[in-house]
Amino acid sequence: MKILGKQKAVIAILFMLLVMLFTDSNFYTAGNLFNLLEAVSTNAIIAFGVTLAVICKGCDLSVGSVMAMSGIIAIILINGGMHMALAIILAVLSGGLVGFINGFLIVQQKSEAFIITLGMGMLVQGVALLLTNANPVSASNPSFQRISGESWLGIPNIALFMIVLGILTFLLLRFTSFGRNCYALGGDYEVAEHSGINVIKTKWFAFVLTGTFAAVAGVLAASRMNTGLPIAGVEIPLMVNCGVVIGGTSFAGGVGGVPQSFIGIFAMFLLRNCMGMLGIHPNVQMLVLGIMVVLIIALDCYAIKRKKEDV
């Protein structure tokens, strides 16, 4: 209940769901809800990883490119005749490696998170283009598509993956010393360091996990479409980071969590889906999305500013 009270995003979601009841559209059909769930799932998996980075007072803008690269690596290895499980593990590890390098530069070398990850995003994007020569690749093995293409009890597999990973991340943050240390060092880095937390190791590991989650999302997305697309663009990482913040995981660090991030991502993609269903032109959709991002982040900043002035 406490989460709900603080959540502007929940109110937005309820409002949108209510509005869609009264419009003459196909929103409340199984097909559309299925689509919405699939779109939310991929991005929510990335968002769970990004949540870790944001709680540690960082952010990760390389996740979009990592997602593209890992899907491509998985498909290329499978097409090359490698065993599917091994190929997927290697693809996921490649994301972990990018996260490891990010973590090294940001935490160990104390560089600015957003610009380092922006640069790494460029680099990884280049690798993805290089691997495929800028053409989409598709997997020759049909069982690869089954990983997230099938559904269980009417729920798409990709959503099940999302739920499992979400619960795991939630438990990790809530019930392990790693998770609590993340909150501690996000809240106050120096205090955490002086109270004996190995801040470097903890934050570094958070970035490794962020990269890994993005890679998992990449493999699942590639499996759903049976295609690896080399171009991720700058929109995915920024939208996911914004979604996390909209949910209430603040850039101030040390607050937030998995449920909040999921709500934020859900609100963003619900808005997209609703506008699509209402037949709003994509360009106008982009305008509304931009206004929403500016409004919510500006309000987040304004709330922090007011709190500071009150004290």
Partner: protein, 328 residues
């Protein structure tokens, strides 16, 4: 004795770190000149100079934002909207008024960015990053909506001749192209502004330590709005130079300009931590970026490999910047 030699070594390392861009530029020129004989030709020189186009203007504006301790991702949107609005107005109100309105529009958009940041109290780079990203989406979608997504073709579409734009795009004075001369003009003005005026130095104080600057009586809020407006103006100039060179301009023309501009500024050695840097460093950064792609093109490096190299150089430059900062 040992101490002295250590001191000397430290000084050499500091010197190398400080002038790394310059060393990289010289090294790049030497290597390319040896590998590719085409590099040292007049044609290639003119070609290189022409590349000092839109990016260099945008990077000059971005320098002030980064020195002020902030960041601006709204550049792609601003470039697109300025280019589209200007080109649409040429037919109805004539070329010169349209160009003036384009410049005013850019300045206004920068002003709006600054106002939103100041009112919401966004005082860190990360917050500014996301707010300006949202603004970029807004500006770009407006550009797409007003044009319906169609490209503007000023070469054939317009009744109205555009002599000023045409001269700016293709004209030369001796071997110097007009856009390069315009660039030198802005460089001189902004250099004098940055190093000789109170406002120029106040920007650096604000970026160095926001709280201290505010306590010291510097109007930091007005300075924030000013640097964003300045960046908007320079972006508008960049947009005009951009469409003056090509006859067809698409509404999404500004994509990736923010990335390249940040890269040019940081590679030049202006610190992302704010407070330190100069437009002259940005010129070096822009030169390095341009030289790099020229060299890679001459050597026949794969385009995608170039992307990898560019990302690696950005990461390396940021990392070195922080190393430099750590050393004091």
């Amino acid at each position: 004795m040992i101490k002295q030699s250590q001191g000397a070594r430290l000084r050499i390392v500091d010197f190398l770190l400080e002038y790394l861009v310059l060393i990289a530029i010289v090294a790049l020129i030497l290597i390319t000149a040896i590998v590719s004989p085409r590099f040292l030709t007049v044609d290639n020189f003119i070609n290189l100079m022409r590349q000092f186009g839109p990016l260099s203007f945008v990077a000059l504006g971005m320098t002030f934002i980064i020195v002020g301790g902030f960041i601006d991702l709204s550049i792609p949107g601003m470039i697109s909207l300025v280019a589209m609005v200007t080109l649409m107005l040429v037919d109805t109100i004539g070329e010169i008024p349209a160009l003036i309105i384009g410049l005013l529009l850019g300045t206004t958009m920068g002003f709006i960015n600054g106002m939103i940041l100041v009112i919401s109290g966004a005082s860190t780079q990360a917050k500014a990053l996301f707010i300006t990203f949202g603004m970029s989406l807004i500006y770009r979608s407006i550009a797409l909506i007003i044009t319906g997504g169609f490209p503007m073709n000023w070469g054939t579409l317009f009744e109205h001749p555009m002599p000023v734009t045409r001269t700016l795009g293709a004209g030369t004075l001796g071997i110097l192209s007009h856009s390069f001369i315009l660039f030198l003009f802005f460089l001189a003005v902004l250099f004098i502004f940055q190093s000789k005026t109170f406002l120029g130095r106040a920007i650096a104080y604000t970026g160095g330590n926001l709280n201290a600057a505010e306590l010291g009586g510097i109007p930091t809020k007005r300075i924030m709005i000013f640097i964003y407006a300045l960046c908007g103006f320079m972006t508008a100039v960049g947009a005009i130079v951009l469409f003056s060179r090509v006859s067809v301009t698409v509404p999404t023309v500004g994509t990736f300009f923010e990335r390249d501009a940040i890269m040019a500024v940081v590679v030049g050695g202006t610190s992302l931590l704010g407070g330190k840097g100069s437009v002259l460093r940005t010129v070096m950064g822009v030169s390095l970026v341009i030289l790099m792609s020229n060299c890679m093109n001459l050597m026949g490096v794969n385009t995608h490999m170039q992307e990898v190299v560019r990302g690696a150089i950005l990461v390396l430059a940021v990392w070195l910047d922080h190393r430099r900062h750590e050393r004091g």
